[in-house]
Symmetry: C2
DNA sequence: TAGTGGTCTAGACCACGAG
DNA sequence: TCGTGGTCTAGACCACTAA
């Protein structure tokens, strides 16, 4: 079968940059990923063995292994001892990444819109205090936004931030995603813990999302931490289930 | 601050087994993980640097790095260049893994129950055929189960399998999780693509899950592949949102 | 300046799967 | 039996961070 042949588009790897800041394993894995996405390497195709690839590219085997491992973790390749490495069959979906809804929408070529519904300083209630790791009653920044794509409302986003972010302006929130604003301040989000569930639309949510009163909503609760482990954001989001869903690729260990 | 001290409970690593089949990096990472879970190494604590750990344990630095990386990927540790490695602050949640609902419930010390609602051979409809990668109309195995925990209904599970699994018996389905049955047949699931959403309860779902008619349900669609990339299972599941939610830990790249 | 993690090399031996 | 990926070693140099 043609799809079981060994594929290795060596021309993709002729100009690796050993001097720049981009790691070699990343250069290899990203080009390999692009080749798989574009069908240059078809689904089911076998790759050469790791030692041969390393020799061809003039790299060491650990470097090649790391490049391949990146794509295994993404669910694009499968390795089997004694057999070799194969491109996974079946369509490829983008895995869930640590991005904001705003960026998700932009990346899928839709025009995101934001309406700021609330932007104020409030005392932390019980769940908020626990999420952010502050005392109950501590002042925190509360933001409530309505997010739409191509003019259709998609989500109601409620976020709580530590008081040090009180200088974020409503105008910034109107124009950009929250994570984008935080990154511009030099804040990097490293880890997020998310909980995805469902419930009925409550209060003004039905109106804001243009769904029936009491209709089903997809919900996500999230706590985001910076690289020192401090909680930076506690969020509770509601999504219109006909406009949004979460996709993940899970790889067995 | 005490939580910024360097912690290294060396006694945990005195009896590493270099002869058995368990990789050294796994022995190190699993003991480290247990120590963090048990609070032996508190949240916010710093670890020694990689070279020193390697010297202490008589292992090479790449082996230690791999052990640490495992826990970074799980969201338990954070590494910063020029700084060191720290235990993440905040509570720890179990990340989503490639397990069946049955195993999830068992692991959380509840008694899962299964009622087989349907178990028959049917022709593949359009979405099923696409999911399993077979022609429309091909015979496939259809299973519909009601899953409960401690006597309370939690989910309605609809699964489609290739016809080669037609010899699975209803009794097996009653007693065990589907993935458990597949593993016992030597079938290993390597990758799954999941889509999580929400919708209203339809048909008999409200009755089966003991929720209001038209009430919100959490849904998951899943296609599971074996290590050769062949689709083994297409499933569509509905969960009672007050009984079940999906938790994930997302780590920035 | 000193210390940390990030990357990379060039080997080695082993376990698994197929023929 | 042979080829494959899985693991492990003992070094090396670099980039980033803090003092």
């Amino acid at each position: 079968m043609a799809s079981n042949e060994i594929y290795w588009p060596e021309e993709l790897f002729t100009d690796l940059d050993r001097t720049g800041p981009v790691p070699l394993y990343f250069q290899v894995s990203s080009r390999l990923e692009a080749a798989i996405h574009d069908g240059v390497i078809p689904a089911g195709a076998r790759l050469e063995n790791e030692i041969a690839i390393a020799a061809r590219l003039g790299l060491s085997r650990p470097t090649i292994r790391r490049a391949i491992q990146e794509l295994v973790d993404k669910g694009l390749l499968v390795r089997r001892r004694g057999i070799g490495t194969q491109v996974v069959q079946g369509q490829v979906t983008r895995p869930v990444e640590l991005t904001s809804l705003y960026e998700d929408l932009r990346n899928s070529h839709h025009e995101p819109g934001t309406r700021v519904l609330a932007h104020e300083i409030v005392p932390a209630t019980d769940p908020v205090a626990e999420g952010l790791g502050v005392a109950v009653g501590t002042d925190v920044v509360f933001i409530r936004r309505q997010r739409s794509t191509d003019g259709v409302p998609v989500a109601v986003l409620e976020n709580y931030l530590p008081i040090e972010f009180s200088d974020i302006t409503t105008e910034q929130l109107q124009d950009r995603g929250l994570y984008q604003i935080l990154r511009a301040r030099g804040v990097t989000i490293q880890i997020a813990k998310q909980k995805i569930g469902a419930r009925r639309a409550q209060g003004d949510e039905a109106e804001l999302l243009d769904v029936e009163r009491g209709g089903p909503l997809l919900t996500m609760e999230r706590i985001a931490f910076d690289n020192s482990g401090r909680a930076l954001e506690y969020g509770h989001h509601c999504y219109r289930p006909d406009m949004y869903s979460f996709e993940t690729t899970v790889v067995a260990k």
